[in-house]
Amino acid sequence: MVNKYGVRSLLNILDLSVEELDSLIATALDIVDNPQAYRSRCQGKKLATLFFEPSTRTRLSFEAAMYELGGQVIGFSEANSSSASKGESVADTAKVISCYADIIAMRHPKEGAPMVAAMNATIPVINAGDGGHNHPTQTLADLLTIYREKGGFENLTIGMCGDLKFGRTVHSLIDAMSRYPGVQFVLISPEELKVPSYVRQFMEEHQIPFLQTTDLEQVMPNLDVLYMTRVQRERFFNEEDYLRLKDSYVLTPAKLTGAKATLSILHPLPRVNEISVAIDEDPRACYFKQVLNGKLMRMALILKLLGV
């Protein structure tokens, strides 16, 4: 998205073209090969991490990314320590922070809040997760992981399992992978946590093959990638519903019996119990590699949006 000031932000993974994604991946891989070349690229620049809901992992990933580029970080990690607790609007916060920093990473529990910030800020805004809506930088991490594990994106069967209703990483990854030929999705979830209608509509409009099922083991042999998700307590208004659904799918070594030897298991983390720790040593487990890949892609994205 480009706002009225001509400033570009990243709100949705589809804001990036396939060519731009390729370019970010190339930058991330170059950072791996030549870390010294990037150590001072953001010298004198400040990243503001505006986290209106707690997320240690994503915030630290952004902060680590900026520090490794030689930049500095300001911000807050919960709404109570921001002016939002005094009733300040997201638009005003964005205008104020624009005077202090060069780029914003924002997480907010309300869907669309980063868009409001991006409409009003005079510096780029990165959506670091808005409710159950979008989480494009997690998708960048997922994409780099798939690229490094599979050598590309084409002709993959991607299983998504767990909370597909509120799981924003799922929606963003579907958006991104839909642009590559031969990709198909297998959506595994309880009835109550199926993907929202607009995601189904998106796949139908783009003629992306997808299958919805409740049976993980039955579809396991077909999968090239298995993307596990956590049923998130914070997305439920009703505790009873959360307790009923939270253990719907737990991945264990037994359930991997029919899986391909080349399967890649991803998870946006944090994990609760949906992947047994017994799988951590399996070479197909990629979820800790995703964490490193996330930092690399955030570095590449910061460089791109700052134009440095």
């Binding site: 609007s89 529990p109 309300k110 869907e111 669309g112 409001v116 409710g131 159950g132 809506h133 607009y198």
Partner: protein, 138 residues
């Protein structure tokens, strides 16, 4: 039933019978300081029954609202008692201040001063989505 012809103003014609009052309300026509006629269930050779709104002043009607509520209406512009222009409508690409997002997780649910903006996502199915959270309007 006779309604005087208007000299300078607009006639919103071919309104689906029963939608005239909804348009009257959404267009806030009660605030106008001029004669406004709302005719319901008028006989129509084309539609069987229709509603008509006549506004006796040079008024910039919100075409987005008209197009959203009833895209088949026509808008006749009258000058000096003569029909000078007949406008046909289509579904608007964007609606501002017409619909409200019902998603309690949407930022527009807590920040009341944000404009309620919806974009047309599917012309055939007439689906509009909130620009903030992308949830479809009901």
């Amino acid at each position: 039933m006779n309604i005087d012809s208007i000299k300078n103003g607009i006639v919103i014609d071919h309104i689906t019978a029963g939608k005239g009052m909804e348009l009257y309300r959404l267009l806030k026509l009660s605030r106008l300081n001029c004669s406004v006629a709302l005719i319901t269930n008028a006989v129509s050779s084309k539609m069987g029954r229709k509603d008509i709104i006549k506004i006796d002043t040079d008024y910039q009607v919100d075409m987005d609202i008209l197009g959203f509520v009833d895209p088949d209406v026509t808008v006749d512009i009258i000058r000096d008692g003569v029909l000078v222009e007949k406008k046909h409508l289509t579904l608007p690409e964007k609606l501002t201040g017409v619909l409200s997002c019902r998603n309690p997780r949407c930022i527009s649910s807590t920040e009341q001063e944000l404009p309620q903006v919806f974009c047309l996502a599917d012309r055939t199915k007439r689906i509009y989505r909130c620009i903030y959270c992308e949830v479809a309007a009901k």
